[in-house]
């Protein structure tokens, strides 16, 4: 955290620059799709949000594993600080997917494997947040949430491969797949820049929220010390 704090203003600046560049490419510089016309622009916020939903959960699972095995306190705090950010990106992926689904599929929602497994991921995020704050002793709450996170990780490969294992309305992968991306560079670049901007947003939010958790722990300790007299 000693390195992260002085880096934060520069990181925030880089994030804003990357976001402006990504939005310019997404809304102005990229072409409309030959089949989906302008609605393809929803992809530039939907896909990075969905990637972040999986990425943040994977980070949380690694942090939880470190917390359970080595009892590293910062790992638990990283997982706790990540959960609301992951929930926010999952919510964005679900809502933008719905807004893309209506004009392209003719429906806001369908209970297919991809959509349902992402909805379950959203509920796991919410359960993680609830469990963390369900105990009087925050350390116990974080430990219980770490176990939930590790058990819930089984959902991550299910989401990733749901479009291949089951017959879904959702299209299969077109960027992260064997043989390279099947998407044109004019659309791939805005997507990658937006994905980078979302990663940077996560990093900024993570630093701010971890700093908050550390301050909250210090406040709890001082308050308890005062109560003891």
């Amino acid at each position: 955290m000693a390195i992260a704090n002085p880096c934060l203003p520069w990181l925030a600046l880089l994030t804003v620059a990357c976001l402006i560049w990504g939005l310019y490419l997404s809304l102005f510089a990229s072409p409309a799709d030959y089949q989906q016309s302008e609605t393809v622009r929803i992809m530039y916020v939907h896909v990075p949000s969905a990637w972040m939903a999986l990425f943040i959960y994977s980070v949380m699972a690694i942090a939880s594993l470190v917390a359970v095995i080595w009892r590293h306190p910062l790992a638990e705090i990283a997982a706790q600080a990540s959960a609301p950010i992951g929930a926010a990106f999952t919510f964005c992926a679900l809502v933008t997917g719905s807004l893309w689904g209506k004009p392209m599929w003719g429906t806001w929602w369908v209970w297919d494997a991809r959509l349902t497994s992402v909805l379950i991921l959203f509920f796991i995020y919410l359960a993680h947040m609830a469990l963390t704050s369900a105990f009087d002793d925050p350390a116990r709450g974080r430990r219980a949430a770490a176990i939930l996170c590790l058990v819930g990780f089984v959902n991550v490969p299910i989401i990733k491969f749901s479009v291949e294992w089951w017959n879904t309305l959702h299209q299969p992968a077109s960027v992260l797949k064997l043989g390279g991306p099947s998407i044109h560079a004019d659309m791939l670049w805005p997507l990658l820049i937006m994905a980078l901007a979302f990663k940077l947003i996560y990093l900024c939010l993570l630093i701010v929220r971890m700093r908050n958790e550390l301050m909250a722990a210090r406040v709890r300790n001082l308050t308890a010390a005062r109560a003891r007299g």
């Binding site: 809304l27 102005f28 409309a32 016309s37 302008e38 609605t39 622009r41 929803i42 916020v45 939907h46 949000s49 609301p84 950010i85 926010a88 919510f91 964005c92 809502v95 933008t96 807004l99 893309w100 209506k102 004009p103 947003i201 900024c204 939010l205 701010v208 929220r209 700093r211 908050n212 301050m215 909250a216 210090r218 406040v219 001082l222 308050t223 010390a225 005062r226």
Partner: protein
């Protein structure tokens, strides 16, 4: 300028789906950022007060 043209804002007739997508993502991220920063500010104030009280006591 392309931004001033109505064809840009109408997004080929899909404005009602595209703009809300960008707006919701923006609002959710901005909301989370504002909440996190304001919580940090209030914690910082509380911590400073508690440390001041501790120093007085010591």
């Amino acid at each position: 300028m392309v931004i001033a043209t109505s064809s840009f804002w109408s997004m080929g007739g899909y404005a009602g789906f595209i703009w809300p997508s960008y707006l919701i993502v923006g609002l959710v991220i901005a909301g989370l950022l504002i909440l996190s920063l304001s919580k940090g500010r209030s914690l910082k104030k509380r911590l400073a007060l508690l440390e001041q009280l501790k120093e007085k006591k010591d």
